[in-house]
Amino acid sequence: MTKIIKVEKKILEKNDIAATRLREKFGALGIAVVNIMSSPGAGKTTLLAETIKKLKGKLSIGVIAGDIATDHDAKILEDAGAEWAVQINTGGRCHLEAVMVEESLDGIPEGIRLLIIENIGNLVCPAGYDLGENYTVMLGALTEGADKPKKYPGMYRACSHLVINKIDLEDALGVTADSYEREALEVNPSLATFRTSAKTGEGLDSWCDWLFSVADGKG
């Protein structure tokens, strides 16, 4: 005799529960959290390093850097002036999970006001995992071509903000920030966008202003 038992539970419920716990913890600590996702090589680390340099002395920033291997990124961000930097190596897993973030928070110093989570470079899976963040940000680079939003729509739909990076390369690439933005807005019309070049510094002011307002709870 077999019987059917109703379950009605989310498969990733454990991640959602951990994310809720994290959100409560971040709220209690007064830390605003931004989860940044992109393809590998879009410039997350370079943009964050320049961001941290610009905000140094004005905003106390902590970073969790996710990669399959190496602690390269956490070192760069620490050198850039992050108050606190942790590296997570997933050993192959293609996204960060809330429990990983939870386990990495040990020893986070008091006074951090903005925590930036640099997710694994991947345009598919990170979108499915809530990390307890206040804002989910997609970083796109012109070097990827403007077709990425429509090839990987799940990521662009999961985000509230889009940073279009490497805008200094428009002429060399023949890809414009306008075209990238147009494609992205067709996938998710509610995206707020920034345009940056981490290399020349163009556009960093408004991006940093936004992060500052996020830390103030006014994002």
């Binding site: 059917i4 038992i5 498969i11 419920e13 956490a74 997570i88 050993g91 996204h95 598919v124 499915g128």
Partner: protein, 134 residues
């Protein structure tokens, strides 16, 4: 648990937090089997015959791959050999221009009737509906 705390404040240098699990569907299958086994234990089941799950078409899960991973993670448990039934559900969208409503897939970005802007809703489902046990 080892943590790379590369902090200028604390100055401690430890190794990165290291995990070693591959592939998205495997992670999903692991979460799935965990809940299935917990529920079966609650029900004092001796065997799991079938697991029925609901997957939205925008949830980013490759069902073939999930079948493969499920069989792997179920091995040597009371769910070994259980059938994984996947019911797929589609997102719907409402056109902002012509007010038409229709089903959308992962790669539909505009209203098929007038080309207007659409905002999909649903399609992100990923849950266990029920389990059949002995």
């Amino acid at each position: 648990m080892e943590i790379a705390l590369l902090s200028g404040i604390h100055g401690e240098k430890r190794k990165p937090v290291v995990y070693n699990i591959r592939m998205h569907e495997l992670a999903v299958a692991e979460s799935l089997i965990k809940t299935v086994l917990e529920k079966s234990e609650d029900e004092e089941a001796s065997r799991v015959v079938k697991v029925t799950i609901v997957v939205g078409n925008l949830a980013g899960v490759v069902t073939d791959s999930l079948h493969f991973c499920f069989d792997e993670v179920a091995r040597d448990t009371i769910a070994e050999g259980a059938t994984l039934e996947i019911e797929t559900v589609s997102a719907t969208a409402f056109c902002q221009s012509c007010r038409d409503e229709f089903e959308v897939g992962q790669y539909d970005f505009a209203c098929p009737r007038c080309g207007g802007v659409i905002i999909p809703s649903g399609g992100m489902e990923l849950y266990i509906k029920d389990i059949e046990i002995e």
